[in-house]
Assembly symmetry: C2
DNA sequence: ACGAGTCGGTTGTATTTACAACAGAAAGGA
DNA sequence: TCCTTTCTGTTGTAAATACAACCGACTCGT
């Protein structure tokens, strides 16, 4: 478990906490480290959860199998990311998605009650971890609101424009580099890739923007 | 300010905290109470925010004016609700929406740094408030993920089915009562009302469900 | 240099949607 | 009761979308 302290140190959850203090907290929080082989389920839709999770090693997919068995991948979880935090409230409903290891992976489990109950003075940095957690969730929340904003637009063009103009605002420039290729962008905005590609070209022909690969410039 | 203690007592933020302790905490947290006339802005898109807000009195709209000045109402805030929590992280971006008073309103402002830094022993319940806040945001987070799930569907029918079946799961019955009328449901799912109405009737004719007003039964 | 695989753009068609306009039913107030 | 307003369903049309199929450019490993 100690071997992952350097990894934890770089996570949002333990940001600003020293190695020794992280080690101490792992015991204090009764952290558990579970490992998964490629293809195994880490979390299953419909379960209840009372732990905050942090990926220590490997890579995970967030996916959903709908009504008719169609599988869709909603997102990825990389090393150091926090997840599960949306389901740990006492009155919270069950998990809405599956989480699956796409590589051999290791996951830290922290009982949420221990995390948010500041304990004895032994953990000097416990308060900081609580704050880190709070801010991490807050930011995630904003990201979700943001995405909902894009997704609530009716047409592909509107979705693209709202996404691109927001990204331009964020990167503070009319020239922006997207973190997606076309397929990923289409997935993110929940539209058809070819229709989106088509729309992008129309917008370029109308002089609204230009692009090359994942670099865009807005006018 | 004290006059709103009974209101605060019933909020998620102060759930489980006694009247006297709430009064104490109002000072300790340096809470500010601001009032707004009908039509005034409480928050403006693009601003930064470092406070958690709780509506003490009145009613607010969350709205967005898009590119071309089209106004759309994204939601309502009722008495006792917490808002603003998605924007208070130090690295957080600016507000994504406007918040406007649709009635004369009163709003509590709590500086987030004070809220999540547990103070001296004077505030016995400070830890509980931090936990309350955490769980409130966690639940909000789940709600957003849920809505994203509906919205990521491509067709109106799929959106309806995912929403209705989830609601049936939540209400633990095939007969469910929706908290929306048709227009509100259409707004929630970001689809056209008449198209949705049409689709609902088609689904009824196909024997997938039946409904009367906002009572639905799934088959 | 070769072939496999990935990526982005294009096209055509069937499906789905938005939008506008209208009508009947229900609710609520004067 | 009558009038107004709100809610819901219906229809037609123009617009937008999904989907499938295909093509060329590019990358990468051998």
């Amino acid at each position: 478990m100690k071997e992952f302290v350097p990894v934890l140190k770089r996570t949002k959850l333990f940001s600003g906490v020293g190695d020794d203090d992280i080690s101490t907290m792992l015991s204090c929080l009764e952290a558990r480290l579970l490992t998964y082989k490629k293809g195994e389920y880490v979390l299953r839709q419909g379960e209840h959860l009372s732990d905050i999770l942090v990926l220590a090693e490997g890579r995970l997919h967030i996916q959903r199998d709908d009504y008719w068995g169609n599988r869709s991948i909603l997102g990825h979880i990389g090393v150091g990311e926090i997840f599960g935090e949306a389901y740990v409230a006492p009155e919270s409903g069950t998990l809405l998605n599956d989480v699956i290891a796409v590589e051999d992976s290791a996951v830290f489990f922290f009982d949420v009650k221990r995390v948010i109950s500041t304990c004895s003075s032994a953990c000097r940095f416990h308060t900081m971890v609580v704050q880190n957690l709070f801010f991490a969730i807050s930011e995630k929340n904003r990201g979700l609101v943001q995405k909902l904003d894009y997704m609530s637009r009716r047409t592909t063009r509107e979705k693209l424009l709202s996404y691109l103009s927001e990204e331009a605002k964020k990167q503070n420039s009319a020239s922006i580099t997207l973190p997606f290729n076309r397929q990923q962008l289409a997935d993110y905005l929940s539209v058809d890739r070819s229709a989106m590609s088509n729309e992008l070209c129309k917008m370029r022909d109308e002089g609204l923007l230009e692009f090359e690969k994942n670099r865009f410039r807005l006018f």
